[in-house]
């Protein structure tokens, strides 16, 4: 029997497979962006939290969620943005942090001071693990990442910025 509960479970399972268009290694579930599903008058509402107010990826993510649910046989879908509580990089799951590191992107530091001028917290090189790294550029291919160089293995790498 198809119950509301298992429609929502299926919907969430399908939505959880959608990846971030800018960081395809991560799913919306890894990012902590996927907040839940509700059934409203026969329409499945998927609740997502925007990362940054103006993040251009959010529109694509919403569209991809609708497509993923349609592929799972759920046609009446609406994606709704929930602002509160505000997303922070602390919501990245442990699995998400591991996937980031595996693709060569250093995960966001957990305890950086966001007010320190010219200061980047010690960011470990995702290749060799050394913390002898330096920042080369604070804004790179996407607003949520910065570019660094490892002084031990000499490799450049991206790091996911702390946002909290």
């Amino acid at each position: 029997m198809v119950t509301a509960k298992n429609i929502l479970a299926r919907a969430l399972e399908a939505a959880a497979t959608v990846t971030d268009p800018e960081i395809p290694a991560l799913t919306v579930a890894d990012l902590g962006v996927l907040r839940g599903a509700e059934l409203v008058d026969g329409t499945v509402e998927i609740l997502i939290t925007p990362t940054y107010s103006g993040c251009p990826a959010m529109h694509v993510i919403a569209l991809d969620i609708e497509t993923a649910l349609a592929a799972a046989g759920i046609a009446k879908v609406r994606v709704r943005e929930v602002l509160s509580p505000a997303w922070t990089t602390d919501w990245l799951t442990d699995a998400g942090r591991e996937k980031l590191a595996a693709t060569g992107i250093a995960p966001p530091p957990r305890a950086a001071s966001r007010r320190a001028l010219f200061g980047a917290a010690d960011i470990a090189c995702p290749r060799c693990g050394s913390v002898a790294t330096e920042m080369l550029a604070e804004v790179v291919s996407t607003a949520c990442k910065s570019l660094h160089r490892c002084r031990t293995c000499r490799e450049p790498f991206d790091a996911f910025k702390c946002h909290r």
């Binding site: 925007p50 940054y52 107010s53 103006g54 993040c55 251009p56 602002l83 509160s84 509580p85 505000a86 997303w87 922070t88 966001r114 007010r115 001028l117 010219f118 550029a137 604070e138 804004v139 790179v140 607003a143 946002h163 909290r164």
Partner: protein
């Protein structure tokens, strides 16, 4: 969507939201004008992304105000005339040289960062949620502008001169940020808004710290420019809106 101008029934809460939304939209638009001609590629991306954050904040505020007035976010942005815009005069000032852009961003962010942090306690749940997002983003904008201001002020003779000129030119536009009209007073009394005066000590401390690092001098507090919140703007806003609104005015309801 119609192409003719709309006039919004501005109860105090709507007027308050439009003011903050217009600040964010106009400043975000100004930053977008650097696209394709910023001094370096990294800075091009940084300014564009800060602009995006601000336009995102504006959208959230317009959507909220739209829910109270029956207008869509697009109608509020594209169909209000210059006199209906409630933004600060500071944010509509032209980009000038890079120092002017950075000083304008620094002044705005040094105010908006503690402003939104205080607004997180608003009794209007949506405003508190928008404030929580805006505060995180603007704390980064403030750091970005502060670092540049220190580099420019404490840099070469020319960069110092340009930075000090920008500080002197834009400082008279900062007094308007602390205004609170009767309508806003009623929101403050209801716990929905804050009186910006309460964050003046934070603003003063930020200016003292960063200007000292930057070897720049804070102008004396004196006569301040006002008018933006009442819709009386400098000559620059009309030109900006002509560009911002052109498409929807000429092709009403056009969609991507």
């Amino acid at each position: 969507m119609p192409s003719t101008s709309i006039f919004v029934d501005e109860i105090p809460l709507v007027r308050f939201c439009l003011g903050r939304a217009d600040d964010a939209l106009v400043l975000g638009h100004r930053l977008s004008e650097w696209s394709g001609k910023a001094p370096t590629l990294e800075e091009e991306l940084a300014l564009a992304n800060i602009g995006l954050d601000l336009i995102g904040q504006a959208r959230a505020l317009y959507t909220y105000a739209g829910g109270l007035t029956g207008h869509s976010e697009d109608e509020l942005a594209y169909l209000r005339d210059e006199r209906g815009y409630r933004n600060l005069l500071l944010v509509e000032q032209p980009n000038g040289d890079f120092a002017v852009t950075i000083v304008r961003q620094f002044f705005y962010s040094a105010f908006a960062d503690p402003f939104w942090r205080a607004m997180m306690g608003s009794r209007a749940a949506t405003l508190a949620a928008i404030a929580a997002k805006a505060e995180k983003e603007i704390s980064y904008h403030l750091r970005h502008a502060s670092e540049w201001l220190i580099r420019l002020g404490d840099g070469t003779e020319e960069s110092h001169r340009r930075a000090q000129d920008a500080v002197d030119r834009l400082f008279p536009f900062t007094g308007e940020m602390f205004g609170c009209d009767d309508g806003e007073e009623s929101l403050v009394a209801a716990g929905v808004a804050i009186n910006p005066e309460i964050i003046r000590p934070v603003w003063d401390a930020t200016l003292a710290e960063i200007l000292a690092h930057a070897a720049l001098t804070r102008p004396r507090d004196g006569w301040m420019q006002t008018g933006g919140r009442a819709g009386v703007h400098s000559e620059h806003l009309g030109h900006l809106l002509a560009e911002l609104q052109y498409l929807q005015r000429s092709y009403p309801g056009a969609k991507w």
